[in-house]
Symmetry: C2
């Protein structure tokens, strides 16, 4: 059994398994690309999976993985800021390590669209960066705790949140789980400290 | 695919998979009982698993699960305060949601024994309760942030830790991951706030 490094996804999957009794669960991953696409875990659970990403390189990496592992899910080009799906279509929508690469007004707008296309009773998972993160404050400030920071050689927005700042984005949903975590770990011999806030909510 | 609720274990498993190249990985779970024993995940990864628990009821629940799922691992009676195993025997030792049910001097003693029976390069995972937990302060105080609290109808020790208090228990090991997390979730309609510190270390 292969364990995915995106371990927060297992918590989401556990809650989806507990909450849903339907046989036909539809899942959407926004920012689904990369060389180990976590949607593979959802296909392994028997769910119908859609995934979008804005990067052709990351889409190719993900689809190569999916083909190699005999999975039928394919990631497609798509911009999470424009979710052109029917209302109340998905049972589960998530975005992992992605949504915080936008400015806060774009994040709010995207979350509103996610809620629209989520079924009543459906589950939403997003994670945010918190102000505890070691990179908060680095780079060019472009808003309140919003910074342009270098990532893989290009300037990318990173938005950081106070612990309760985003709670009201979800005031019309039921909180299943909120985890505010400071993660210290060694990467390449260097100890780094990352701050995340993981929200799992029910519509 | 069944997802286990003990999702911290997936992070441990991911690090064990990354760190170990041996074909014969030996794992010990201290406090391995209960109706969904996470050792099942380690057997699914092809590892040799030993598990001990101090409660006959929890051992029976775990072994019933393991038999039903055609797994060969069996949990045995054992007290983690007396780990009678050879030096440097295990590749991975863990204790999840268990070790904090002892007084702090017992926790320190147990961790020292775990280090002794862990191979050089082996991985240790334990989680502690933090002082952020909603129950910290409840019950009869029996030491610094140590309380006797009711659990399933009996008085049980709960030891709570400041964020860096336990770091020096592991000063002779390499920190792979430390996650200090506040977990808010709804149980039976009530929102509760739990505080944990998860340590994963390499000998």
């Amino acid at each position: 059994m292969k364990i995915f490094w995106q371990t927060s996804i297992y918590k989401l999957l556990n809650l989806v398994q507990i909450s849903n009794t339907s046989n036909n669960i539809r899942v959407l991953d926004c920012g689904a690309g990369g060389n180990m696409p976590s949607l593979a875990l959802f296909e392994d659970c028997g769910y119908s999976c859609d995934g979008i990403d804005i990067s052709d390189t990351q889409i190719e990496l993900a689809n190569n993985y999916l083909k190699k592992n005999d999975l039928s899910t394919r990631i497609q080009y798509g911009d999470m800021r424009k979710l052109d799906y029917d209302d109340e279509y998905y049972d589960c929508i998530y975005s992992y390590n992605t949504i915080f690469h936008m400015k806060k007004h774009e994040i709010i707008n995207t979350i509103e669209q996610m809620k629209r296309i989520l079924k009543p009773g459906g589950i939403l998972f997003i994670n945010l960066l918190s102000i505890d993160d070691f990179r908060c404050g680095e780079g060019l400030s472009v808003g309140e705790n919003e910074y342009l920071q270098m990532e893989d050689g290009i300037q990318v927005i990173h938005s950081y949140f106070k612990h309760s700042e985003a709670d009201n984005y979800f005031s019309d949903m039921t909180l299943l789980s909120k985890e505010t975590r400071i993660w210290e770990r060694t990467i390449g011999g260097k100890l780094i400290k990352q701050g995340y806030i993981d929200y799992i909510l029910k519509k």
